[in-house]
């Protein structure tokens, strides 16, 4: 078993799903012979043919809308949005249709589709290529929002998303597309869509995050460990529906929580987790819940981008601040 990167894990999962279920299709801009601008779909058209893998015209609202139609007919389209910044025009279809079709027809029609998009900053990409607005999707009823943070979880979660009978928005942190790598068994095992992953156990403080920020968060946990502080690190992975039990359980033991995400602070999904801590978790909190997040500004162009992104330093500062409370 060789080590592979997230982008390869994503590709592996798609290939696996296409292999086992012929209703699985792959569509999007440049996903065919070009293999996607990040090469997530590389080789798929050669392997599965252009009746199952196809390039579309340049139209994002259409991508989502066509997927809804295919889904209602029993296909399982896995549809790529080239960058999350170009996903906005498709929100209408996600909120007004994909997330509702089963409900509004009382189960007569359904929408087993996956809408994939690379997201997040940190790769010095051009303007509009670094957005993170997973929180918008997490507010939409009737869908799932899934974000992998490693090759293995990427593989398992994407398989689960494709097999899921309901619409899934699957956001891939492109900063970790190529590294780190890890061993991934192409065994067709799906990862659960209903739970967080505890990446590191610890009893002094809980660090909650998802996507690429898992790297900085784990690094911060390592730094804290050097100081004798054991941080528990939780990868939320499935933002919607949220497995709050795992987080509450952790905070019950640690009494402290820092939530880390790259999206702008205000209205980010960290707010939801903090809000639930302020409710069910309040009795266990021994210190304020901190959020380390992107600023409430437009993601800067590359020259200043790294100042925007939450750093290990900012995570550590927040952790240290609440470790002072007793």
């Amino acid at each position: 078993m060789t080590e592979i990167a997230l982008i390869e894990a994503v590709r592996l999962a798609m290939a696996r799903a296409m292999e086992e279920d012929e209703t699985v299709l792959v569509l999007g801009e440049d996903v065919g012979v070009n293999g996607g601008v990040f090469r997530a779909t590389d080789g798929l058209v050669e392997r599965f043919g252009d009746k199952r893998v196809f390039d579309t015209p340049l139209a994002e609202a259409l991508l989502a809308g066509v997927s809804v139609g295919l889904g209602a007919q029993g296909f399982r389209p896995v549809t790529e949005f080239q960058f999350m910044g170009f996903f906005y025009p498709a929100i209408d279809q996600v909120a007004n249709h994909a997330g509702r079709l089963r409900n509004r027809t009382r189960g007569r029609l359904s929408c087993p589709i996956v809408l994939r998009a690379p997201f997040g900053g940190g790769i010095h990409a051009p303007e509009h290529h670094s957005e993170s607005f997973e929180a918008m999707f997490a507010h939409i009823p009737g869908i799932r929002v899934v974000i992998p943070s490693s090759p293995a979880r990427g593989y398992g979660l994407l398989l689960a998303a494709i097999r899921d009978p309901d619409p899934v928005v699957f956001l891939e942190p492109k900063r970790i597309y190529r590294a780190p790598k890890e061993e991934v068994a192409d065994d067709g095992e799906a990862a659960p869509l209903d739970c967080c992953f505890v990446l590191r156990e610890g009893s002094d403080i809980t660090l909650v995050t998802w996507g690429a920020m898992v790297l900085e968060t784990l690094a911060a946990a390592d730094s804290l460990a050097e100081e004798g502080i054991e941080a528990e690190v939780i990868d939320v992975a499935t933002l919607k529906p949220l497995d709050m039990a795992t987080i509450l359980d952790s905070v019950e033991r640690t009494g402290r929580c820092v939530i880390v995400h790259e999206a702008p602070l205000t209205g980010g999904f960290g707010a939801e987790i903090a809000a639930r801590l302020a409710d069910r978790g309040l009795v266990n909190l021994t210190a304020p819940v901190k959020r380390v997040a992107g600023f409430d500004t437009v993601m800067p162009l590359p020259k200043l981008e790294r100042h925007y992104m939450p750093s290990e330093g900012r995570i550590l500062a927040a952790a240290r601040e609440i470790l002072e409370y007793s």
Partner: protein, 363 residues
């Protein structure tokens, strides 16, 4: 300067407003008796619309969109389709939906505010009513793509309004249909108005049929008050679609004789005189004249049909009014195939609350 491409838009009409054939009728229309089901469908629709408006006026139905004057577009489209085709209506196509097998009670339930109204017992693959204007065009493309991928001789029919042709989503779907030669027919119910905005202020295009030129396929304009022309055009388009010939846009030129919906007051923005003038073109009268002239329809037939339709509509309305409301927790039960944990909790809270309040029934 060289001309490198040229295009034409054609117009078709078989019956003039007096019901006289202006050209040889298509095969299906040659025996006048064979047109009676079309006539019946239009009368039933008008009868249904009148009842639905009455129910709304008396507080027993929500907002409703009548298709008054546009019955030929609906009947012609519905009749042209085969059972295995799929209809993607917007919100004014009850006439087509009935011909597809959707129950009147279902549509009343829907407009009455009950999701079960979209769980048609009849055409199981047809899409529910689409309220966000034009968003169903892409669904139609997706459904058509499914047929194409499976190699099925079926087609999708998407009905939309003149206003909807201004939506980018509709253009995107039409463009895709063109380039992939999808088996889909776009029927534009050009009823001249999008709420208060008249057709001429929606687009500078001389016809709506020519919207298809941008997408590389044919658009045709028909007299939308001539049910024979509508059915003929949609039927041809469907045949072409099913046999791999790609999409067609059929613009049916008609007129919205009613308010936009029951919450609209069209007298605010259009002349009563304009509306009155359009009554002479309306489709039911036209076909009745044709049938009567052909000796295929009598006053007694008419009376009997009206009575029959009235009865059918009344029965549907009664069934609708007698339908018990859904349990409150139904708002959770169809959201996902399996209810996620945190929703189970919300559901339990709602059930407890409603139970405590004795809320078995609702308004």
């Amino acid at each position: 300067m060289t001309e490198i491409a040229s295009f034409a838009v054609e117009y078709r009409r078989f019956l003039d407003p007096d019901g006289q054939a202006v050209q040889p009728l298509p095969a299906f229309a040659q025996d006048p008796a064979a047109l009676i089901p079309l006539y019946r469908a239009m009368v039933l629709t008008r009868s249904f619309d009148a009842k639905a408006v009455a129910l709304q006026r008396t507080g027993r139905l929500g907002t409703f969109a009548s298709s008054l004057g546009q019955e030929a577009v609906m009947a012609g489209t519905g009749a042209a389709m085969r059972p295995e085709d799929v209809l993607l209506p917007s919100f004014r196509e009850q006439g087509a939906q009935f011909l597809r097998g959707a129950a009147m009670t279902d549509l009343l339930l829907y407009w009455g505010g009950d999701e079960r109204g979209s769980d048609f017992a009849g055409p199981r693959e047809d899409f529910p009513i689409c309220v966000p204007v034009g968003t169903h065009a892409a669904h139609a493309a997706g459904v058509a793509l499914a047929f194409q991928l499976r190699g099925e001789a079926r087609a999708a029919v998407c009905v939309l309004g003149d206003g909807a042709t201004s939506k980018g989503e509709v253009y995107e779907a039409m463009n895709l249909a063109g380039v992939w030669r999808l088996p889909v027919v776009f029927v534009v119910n050009n009823n001249q108005w999008a709420i208060s905005v008249p057709r001429e202020r929606q687009t500078a295009a001389r016809t709506l049929a020519q919207k298809a030129i941008a997408c590389g396929f044919e658009g045709v304009q028909v007299d939308g008050n001539d049910v024979i022309a509508v059915r003929d055009a949609v039927e041809r388009a469907l045949e072409q679609a099913r046999s791999g010939g790609g999409p067609t846009l059929v613009e049916a030129v008609t007129y919205r004789l009613s308010d936009h919906t029951t919450v609209d007051d069209a007298s605010r923005y259009r002349d009563d005189a304009e509306v009155s003038a359009r009554w002479k073109d309306e489709p039911i009268l036209r076909l009745r004249k044709h049938l009567t002239d052909a000796g295929a329809w009598s006053k007694e037939d008419e009376e009997q049909l009206i009575a029959e339709c009235g009865k059918e509509v009344e029965a549907a309305a009664e069934a609708y009014l007698a339908t018990p409301v859904q349990p409150v927790e139904s708002m959770f039960d169809w959201l996902y195939a399996e209810l996620p944990g945190d929703l189970a909790e919300q559901r339990a809270g709602l059930v407890a609350e409603a139970g405590a309040a004795g809320d078995a029934k609702d308004d």
